[in-house]
Amino acid sequence: MTIPIKSVHPEAEYAAFLAEGRFMVQRSASTGEAVFFPRVAQPVTGRDDLEWVEASGAGSLYSFTVVRNKPPAADYIIALVDLNEGVRMMSRLIDCHPETLSIGMPLQARIGDVDGVPAVLFQPVEGASA
């Protein structure tokens, strides 16, 4: 378990963590509720006790679509992922074929990049199904 890090400049800090290969999400120190996307305060309540914690990286597939491209550009899969922390994010699915995907299936995060920009990506958990 990592020690929580106070969140001051959420957008820049999220990107800096990613560049270090770390997937971090915000959490309210008082309620333990996760927040994504990163903000200066918790939406709805305005609670400003947000801190950074390491994301588990575990989640499930909420929806997905294959973005089609003209060759030689490759198609890619855009997904909405529900993290086990209780928040949702957009991502890309990697190392899988669209035909093998089903909504609800478990996913695991991996830090990678999209065209050289660090990003949290997901792949299906091996041997799992929805």
Binding site: S63, V66, I103, V114
Partner: protein, 384 residues
């Protein structure tokens, strides 16, 4: 007490211009052609207009540049930037401003040359969202595709049902000489078209056209002295739930479900009373979602509701009688065109696509990626 001045303001003039693509015109030139035509249609002079509610996708300062171009010095301006729903919201504010006596004649106007000028989608979406943009969704299509996929998963909606929406829109367009695409279109044509972002093919997506539209609104007492049959604004409400699709908790339920009951309550009518429905169909999934969220069918039943030509000419509910954003016109923001078509139907001048004895029309606007939802309900004199 709904707080809305039901029936106390009306559209008295309406016009469109450049739907058929007019290379060489700038966006504001297209807008001005429609604006002057709508003012003339109302039987008014430009000098009668004292409020200008405008929208140019690429001009954040249209509140000043449009009046300057038209030679009008408005006492009230408005430029709600909610995307395609802006015009329904402007109609709501127009009714309130007119009723309060802040102004006497409101011009609502829009123009875009996105097909012939920009050669593609107009960039009017603001700054990229740093928590989606790095993944390169092909927006707006990708966001709507994620919604369609989830709707199919939760409710058993099929690609054939999505295609029904496109086919119905095309059949209406074939009755509208102004519509941009009027060639025959089948379910198979839609499903076999080029896939853009699964499950949406290019024929599940709206057109990319030029186009401009404008309407003029006055208080109802004045409207009765002007040449056209007035279309009275009976109810108008909007709701905003998000900007980016990854932040909408249940993507199959839109803010239209919040706005619509308020608009219907203001108007004192229910969905079953509506004679003609004009929805913002940027994608085929939109029509299905909005039929549900506006109360025309239960949640999840939209796909089955549109099956077997139910919203096509001769079906059980006339939807998007001009051909919609899918087959008539979609110049970046389509919302004002749903109001122009509602007015045209209530005047009884819609030609081959006229709905007999249409008294109540709903004109809906959608902005962003299902983000802003706005509903207007219009009626003829006898609905007052």
């Amino acid at each position: 007490m709904t707080g809305f001045p039901r029936g106390r303001a009306a559209v008295v003039g309406a016009a469109t211009f450049g739907i058929d693509s007019k290379p060489g015109y700038s966006a504001i030139e297209l807008l001005a052609k429609a604006a002057f035509a709508a003012i003339a249609d109302a039987g008014l002079a430009p000098s009668d207009i004292d409020a200008v509610f405008s929208m140019l996708p690429e001009d954040p300062f249209s509140a000043m540049s449009v009046p300057e171009y038209l030679g009008i010095r408005p006492r009230v301006v408005e430029t709600t930037r909610t995307g395609g729903s802006a015009f329904q919201i402007q109609a709501m504010w127009a009714a309130l401003a007119l009723d309060a006596g802040l102004c006497n004649a409101v011009l609502i106007c829009y123009g875009s040359n996105q097909r012939s000028g920009a050669g593609g989608l107009v960039r009017s979406g603001g700054a990229p969202f740093p928590f989606e943009a790095p993944y390169k969704p092909r927006n707006p299509t990708t966001s709507y595709a994620l919604v369609a996929k989830r709707h199919m998963h939760e409710y058993g909606t099929t690609r054939e049902q999505l295609a029904e929406v496109a086919v119905a829109a095309r059949k209406w367009a074939q009755l509208n000489p102004d519509a941009y695409m009027r060639d025959p279109l089948s379910i198979d044509d839609v499903m076999n078209a080029r896939m853009v972002s699964d499950p949406l093919t290019v024929r599940d997506c709206c057109l990319v056209t030029d186009g401009a539209a404008a309407v003029v609104m006055t208080r109802s007492d004045r409207a009765r002295d002007l040449p056209n049959r007035p279309a009275y604004l009976l109810g108008a409400a909007d709701a905003t739930w998000h900007r980016n699709i990854s932040t909408l908790k249940d993507v199959t339920l839109t803010a239209a479900s919040d706005a619509a009951p308020r608009a219907f309550a203001q108007a004192g009518v229910k969905p079953a009373d509506i004679d003609v429905v004009e929805l913002y169909d940027a994608f085929t999934i939109n029509t299905i979602l909005f039929l549900e969220d506006l109360g025309f069918c239960p949640k999840g039943e939209g796909g089955r509701f549109v099956a077997d030509g139910a919203i096509a000419p001769g079906g059980r509910l006339p939807v998007n009688t001009n051909g919609g954003g899918l087959s008539c016109v979609h110049p970046g923001m389509y919302g004002l065109f749903t109001m122009v078509e509602a007015v045209t139907q209530l005047r009884g001048v819609a030609g081959d696509r006229q709905i007999a004895d249409a008294k109540l029309a709903l004109a809906h606007g959608n902005g962003g990626v299902l983000s802003s939802q706005a509903v207007t309900i219009w009626g003829t004199e006898e609905t007052l």
